[in-house]
Structures are given as C-alpha cells and as structure tokens.
Amino acid sequence: MFQDRRIGLALVLPATLFLLAGFVLPVLVLLSGSLQGPGGWSFDAYVRFFAVPLHQEVFWRTVRLGVLVTLTCAVVGYAAAFAIVNTAPSARGKLIGLLILPLMISPVARTYAWIVILGRTGLVNQALQGLGLADGPVRLLFTETAVFIGLVQLFLPLMVLTLVSALENLPADVMSAARVLGAGWIQTFVRVVLPLTREGLVIGGTLVFTGAVTAYITPAVLGGSRVLMLETLLYQRVSVAGDIVSGSVIAAILVVMSYTTNVLLRRIAAGRGR
C-alpha cells in the first residue's frame, strides 16, 4: 500500500520547498557573503576578521567556555542521571518533570535571576562571606564565571535527560556482572557504562556544546561588553557598527562549528565502538 513514491514526494514537498526558499537559501546567501572579496571568491574577510586581536580573543573564549560547559555538564550529568535511574519509577517521572521545568521557562527570566544572585550583595556573596570563604565581596557579574554558571544551568537538563534515557537502556545486569568479575567502580564506569551509554553522551554533548557556543542572552546579560562571545560580538558588529561582513564571517564560523561538532562527535562515538 505504501509504495507510491509520488504520494511520498507530494507530502514532503510543501515543507521542503518552504524551508529551502524561506530558510536554507537566505542563510546560504548570508554565509556566502563572507567568502566574497573585491575580485571574486576569497578568504579575505576571514583574514581581516582574525587580524583583530579582540576577535581572536572572543573566538577562543567561545571555544573554551563551550568545552568547559560541556565537560561540566557531562560529569554532573552522569552523577545526576545515575541517581535518577536508581529511584523508583514513580519518583523518576516527577524528577524528570522538575528537570524539564527550567527548559520551559523564558531564558530572559533565567538570566535575570542570576543578576540578583551573583551580585556583590547577592546570595552567593552573602553565603561566601557567611561561611568565611571570602573576606570581602567577590565580583562575579560580568566575568567568565558568571557566563559559565548561566550556561551550565541552561544546558545541564538536556545532558541529564539524554543520559537518563541512555542509562535506562543499559541492560540491568551488566554492572553487577562487571562487579562480580572483580572490576572496581571506576573501572566498571570506564569499561562498561561509558561505552554502552556513549551515544547518549555524544547526543547530549553535541546539544550542550552547540547550545553553549551559540547562546545569546546569557553572555549578553551576564557577561556584558567585557566578556563577549561570538554571538554577542555578531550582534554588536552588525547592529551597532553596521559591519555586515564581520557578521557573516562569525555566522559562518558558528555554523561550521555546530556542524563539525556533530560530525566529529559522531565519528568518535563510532570509532570507539569498534
């Protein structure tokens, strides 16, 4: 019954055409703008973009924060996912609901909360001084630390959710088997759990990394002009300086970064499997 290719085509055509014309094409035209020099195609715009020390700094900061946020989410994510998988199924649903909640709340509201918490007179500083961990108020707002904290909060739920479903699919007895065969907890994790949940980790990692390097509100509000990331730099170049060429260069860098992360992590996952 489902053999007719024409029906298949007719069903996918409206959406595909809509996205090709209204999405893929405009984006490609924008990206191609970064490859146009005075005399045709060239990498001129990239050379000039990276010749500016500020732009290099912003590029490396974006990569650095992306990697740090991804690693942190992976480590904390495994711990939290293990704990969730070990609870009774009834509690599990509620816990997952709690994890989804922050994903549903406006990111503007989320970052706004951190302004109140991370300020010099905010909760964190009150706690640090109350516990005697700091002599005076510590400056947290408008630092990379603030952006890091904001990004981890933003993306940790995605990592935990993917790891929970990966761990749920883990055969119930593999860990017991490994333990019976004399493996330590760390060994069990590295040799057994990690390879078997590799795919979840890769999916979660990709979501977190690409999300972190392309986040806008968090660096804009918590980092400000002294902690620019690529996306805030793009907005500033385009909107304030009217510099479309730099804008399309940054756009191309971000798209390439998202895409290669996807491919690279998939490759790593597949390679480890053999």
Binding site: M1, Q3, I7, G8, L9, L11, V12, A15, T16, F18, F23, V24, L25, P26, V27, V29, L30, V76, A80, A83, N86, G93, G97, L98, L99, I100, L101, P102, L103, M104, I105, S106, V108, A109, A113, W114, I115, V116, T121, G122, L123, Q153, L156, P157, V160, M175, T210, T214, Y216, I217, V221, E231, L234, V238, I244, A251, L254, V255, S258, N262
Partner: protein, 263 residues
C-alpha cells in the same frame, strides 16, 4: 544493579544539589518579584504585590504578551500543518532523496538563531518588503518545523502500518484512513509537539532580535528592551509570572501526555 547505602545517599545529595542549582534561581526571582522596595533585591525588603500589579499596567507588556501568544499559536499550527505530512511520509513512503529531505527539514536546528534572524532580515524580508509580523511568523514557523517533524515521527514509530492497510481494505480512502485511524492514534504526539512548539516560540529571542519592528515586539524582546532603560522589580515580577505559567504548562502536559518522553 547493585545499590550500596552510600551510593543512595550520595545520589540523593547530588540530585538535591543539581535541582537546587536548576530551580533555586526561580525561587529567588519569585522572592524578588514580591519585593516591596523600588529596586530588585533578594531577600526582599518587605512583601508586596505592587510590582506584580505594575506588570499589568505597562502597556507595551500587554501588547507584546498577546502578540507573542498569537505568534506562538500561529507558527506552531503552521509548522504542524507542514510537518505532520513530512513525518508521515518519511515513516511510511519511499520518498525520493529521503536523506536530503531529512537534512533540509532539520536544518533550522543546526543554524544558530541569531544567524537565522539576520539572514532572513537581509536576504528575504528587506529585499521583498515583507511586513514585520509576517516575517516573524515565517521565521518562527521555519524554526519550529524540525520539532514538529521529530516529535510526530516519534509517535508514528509506535503505530503499526497494518491497521491503516486494514482500514483501506475495508473500503476507506487513504485520506480517510489517515484522518480516522492515524490521526487519533498520534494525537498525543501532536499535542506534545504543539506544547513544545508554543514554548519554543514564546521564549524565542535570537531569531526575533533582528526581525521585530515598529509597534511589533515579542514579549522577551520587550523585556530585554525594558531592562535596558528601566531598573525596577517589574521585570522580576514578570519573570516570576512567566515561570509560574511554565510550571502550569509542565504540570498539565505531564499529567495529560507524559511530555517527558518527547523532549
């Protein structure tokens, strides 16, 4: 799996910390919203509802709230109308260039939002003179399409094709079989896609950043603009209201559909 007592305790402690980190800030924002003073602060200096009331008096918030709601409903519906057939075709039919179609349909997820906004502004909206509202609608529809396809596809996977075949053999048309047999069975998937799409559109900032225009602004963009010029707890109050609204959505969705399966 082996459970040792120290693992249980450690596990609960980790979970508690993670949840505190993820959800605690919203408690803070609710506290700051109830602040009686003139500036946002936590712990609040006296409890009052004055800023919650103030939110409803800011004219631009009201306008952009309704605009955001309509935009979210409209673009989610449009994404479903375009996306459900794609999910269905990919699940059932031999589509020529299946992988290419899949790539195009998931493309909006790969491209960062701010780039989508900029590309559409410069290479579609401005040269063609598309009005602001229509531009926002088209951009949000494109953005939501991948979610619609993915979530509906997930619920189609659990539906065996042979019941449709049976319906057709019993004399139903293909369309009739789809409407009477398939649609009721993937209803929950569509509802889940609708909720996810609504929330994604409603909270969207980067795509809208370049596309809003005179008199047409979405709520989150309006909040950012308000924060640019005014510093009082009304943004905290509005944030708190939005957080409570999201909580209600999550509770209802979880109760009705178990939405956690689709995220």
């Amino acid at each position: 799996m082996i459970r040792l007592p120290w693992m249980r305790i450690g596990g609960w402690a980790t979970l508690a910390l993670v949840l505190l980190f993820l959800i605690g800030p919203f408690a803070v924002i609710i506290g700051a919203a109830l602040n009686a003073g003139t500036v946002p602060a936590f712990p609040p200096q006296g409890i009052s509802l004055r800023w919650v009331v103030a939110v409803f008096e800011v004219q631009s918030f009201r306008a952009s709230f309704f605009l955001s709601v309509w935009l979210a409903v409209g673009s989610t519906l449009a994404a479903l109308v375009l996306g459900v057939p794609v999910a269905y075709a990919l699940a059932r039919y031999p589509v020529p260039g299946k992988e290419a179609v899949r790539a195009v349909v998931t493309a909006p997820v790969v491209v960062p939002g701010i780039i989508v906004g900029l590309a559409l502004l410069r290479h579609a909206v401005v040269p063609l003179g598309v009005p602001v509202m229509e531009a926002l609608f088209l951009a949000h529809t494109a953005l939501l399409l991948p979610y619609a396809v993915r979530v509906v596809a997930a619920s189609l996977e659990n539906l065996r094709p042979d019941i449709e075949e049976a319906a057709v053999m019993l004399g139903a048309t293909r369309l009739g079989a789809f409407l009477r047999v398939v649609l009721p069975n993937i209803r929950n998937g569509i509802l889940a896609a609708f909720i996810l799409g609504f929330v994604t559109s409603f909270n969207q900032v980067p795509v809208s950043l370049f596309l809003t225009g005179p008199g047409v602004s979405t709520l989150p963009i309006d909040m950012l603009a308000y924060m640019e010029f005014t510093y009082d707890p009304s943004v905290a109050a509005l944030s708190a209201l939005l957080a409570l609204m999201s909580l209600a959505v999550v509770l209802v969705a979880e109760r009705l559909l178990g939405i956690s399966r689709f995220v």
